[in-house]
């Protein structure tokens, strides 16, 4: 238990002293996770709109499958990306394995089911009357869908936050496709995993505290934007 207290002190020290390596790792975590979350949202929110407002055979099954994929293990996505990007794999020529871009790709894929599924739920919560009224007022389908999305913007923002939280806290995928290279693909979670295996438990916990503080900050900024 003493370790825990020492870890809190250590985390405080690292933050106050603006430790260069910790800042570097934290910034990279933020950049990679935010990018993958933004890509996942940019692709999946419009898709959620299209799926929600269209009817096609197997729609329920499709949504069930998407919801099942919430449980997709990050390591499995990591393996998939690894095989894909390995020099001997189909996309090996791009030389992307063990780069931040590979991590972004992996995280975006892993986030898509979550963002899509929760995005559809967010749209479902909006009164269908809004869509009908917009159509009646002469809007086309795209405009009406956008109107519904605007109504559900808080739920969609929460979905994005959830995605960001999952991205910044995952470790299996980042280790596998990023390789935990110091100063290049090392993020907060992979650093925690490394320091744990080295027996530097205080430092590992301190990094965990910093990760949580970072998530708190991002949450507060989004909350503040919503209030305005």
């Amino acid at each position: 238990m003493e370790e825990l207290w020492r870890a809190v002190v250590k985390a405080f020290e690292l933050i106050v002293s603006l430790d260069a390596e910790v800042i570097d790792i934290t910034g990279r975590s933020l950049l990679i996770s935010a990018t993958s979350c933004i890509i996942a949202c940019a692709v999946c929110f419009p898709l959620a709109g299209i799926i929600h407002f269209s009817s096609f055979p197997g729609k329920r099954l499709f949504i069930s499958v998407v919801q099942t994929l919430y449980s997709l293990p990050t390591v499995l996505v990591g393996l998939f990306i690894f095989v894909l990007l390995s020099r001997s794999g189909p996309l090996g020529g791009l030389g992307l394995l063990f780069t931040p871009l590979a991590m972004v790709m992996g995280q975006a894929i892993f986030l898509c089911p979550i963002v899509l599924g929760l995005g559809i739920s967010a749209l479902r919560a909006v009164d269908t009357a809004i869509y009908d009224v917009a159509m009646a007022l002469g809007a086309n389908r795209v405009q009406a869908t956008l109107q519904v999305m605007k109504e559900s913007r808080y739920a969609l923002a929460m979905t994005a936050m959830m995605g960001f939280g999952r991205a910044i806290s995952e470790v299996g995928l980042s280790l596998m496709v990023g390789g935990n290279i110091k100063g290049f693909t090392r993020t907060l979670t992979t650093a925690i995993s490394l320091e744990t295996s080295r027996g530097n438990l205080e430092f590992a916990i301190a990094l965990g505290i910093i990760l949580l503080l970072l998530a708190l900050m991002v949450n507060m900024i989004v909350g503040w934007l919503q209030q305005r």
Partner: protein
């Protein structure tokens, strides 16, 4: 209106990030040829955990102007990376599989540069009475007593392969050993395996560096450290550029040369001595001269 403005700002920021971030990362890729050459090396965990690479990396980068990227992987995974051509060189400690790596045409050269010892460690009261035994006899005693646990890495790492070799030399069928109730496969790195051994008051085979930097804190003691079979040799293997034309052979050759320079070899003799009271590794020439025994 305000909400719309905020959303608009957010959206613009999102889109900008979308365009700029991958482009920025892409630039790094494109620079490959002109900017400092990149050298990617997968290294066995014990060398990384000891902090050796963090010490050598800046020295090497400053001297040769090569951007060295060190990946942290057990010997088994490092060999896989090498076989797929995903790294330029690997640093491992398993001579047999290294020889296979070369003979199968994945690697062009193997340069041993450091060595150390494996240790059999266990609880201080040594219930199986293995202290001072040969490694083979110690394993036989642990198996005979049957009530004390043996914790194995169980992950095809260099240390795990060495452990299998000792069981075999002691006259055991490894598959039978594996099924024994007193035998536990941790399936994890050396540090967590030692932690498990300490928690369960069991025995384990470990490399010296990890034990000295980590295991010492746990209440385990070294019990067996003699015998040729416990020699632990670290080598760098250069991936064959004829097989994988994209590997940076020039740079990996430089690194191999760097590791056997008098300077690095002298560093190895002292590395960790200040902090832990004894060096973690020895220069390869010292093992060759038999100083290890």
């Amino acid at each position: 209106m305000n909400a719309r403005f905020a959303l608009g700002t957010l959206l613009t920021a999102f889109l900008l990030a979308l365009i700029l971030v991958p482009a920025g990362t892409g630039c790094n890729q494109a620079k490959h040829d002109s900017a400092p050459a990149k050298l990617r090396v997968a290294t066995t965990t014990s060398l990384y955990d000891s902090g050796l690479w963090e010490y050598l990396e800046p020295l090497f980068e400053a001297r040769y102007g090569i951007d060295l990227e060190v990946l942290y992987a057990g010997t088994g995974i490092a060999l896989r990376y090498g076989e797929k051509g995903d790294v330029d060189a690997i640093v491992t400690h398993d001579p047999d599989r290294e020889a296979l790596f070369i003979s199968q045409g994945y690697g062009l050269e193997r340069v041993p540069f450091a060595c150390s010892r494996f240790l059999v460690v266990g609880p201080a009261d040594d219930p199986a009475r293995i202290k001072g035994q040969t490694p083979e006899a110690a394993f036989a005693r642990i198996a005979a007593i049957g009530s004390v646990l043996f914790i194995s890495r169980g992950d095809e790492s260099g240390t795990h392969i060495k452990e299998k070799e000792i069981w075999q030399r002691a006259g055991f069928d490894y598959e039978e050993v594996r099924r024994s109730r007193w035998y536990i496969e941790a399936g994890r790195g050396m540090g967590p395996t030692l932690l498990l051994a300490a928690e369960k008051r069991g025995y384990a085979l470990t490399d010296k560096a990890t034990f000295v930097t980590y295991g010492n804190k746990l209440g385990l003691v070294p019990l067996v450290d003699q015998g040729d079979i416990l020699l632990n040799t670290y080598s760098i293997l250069l991936v064959d550029p004829k097989r994988y034309p994209w590997v940076n052979y020039e740079a990996s050759k430089r690194l191999a040369e760097f590791l056997v320079t008098e300077e690095v070899q002298a560093t190895l003799r002292e590395f960790g001595a200040l902090h832990y009271g004894e060096p973690l590794f020895l220069p390869y020439c010292d093992c060759a001269r038999g100083l290890l025994r």
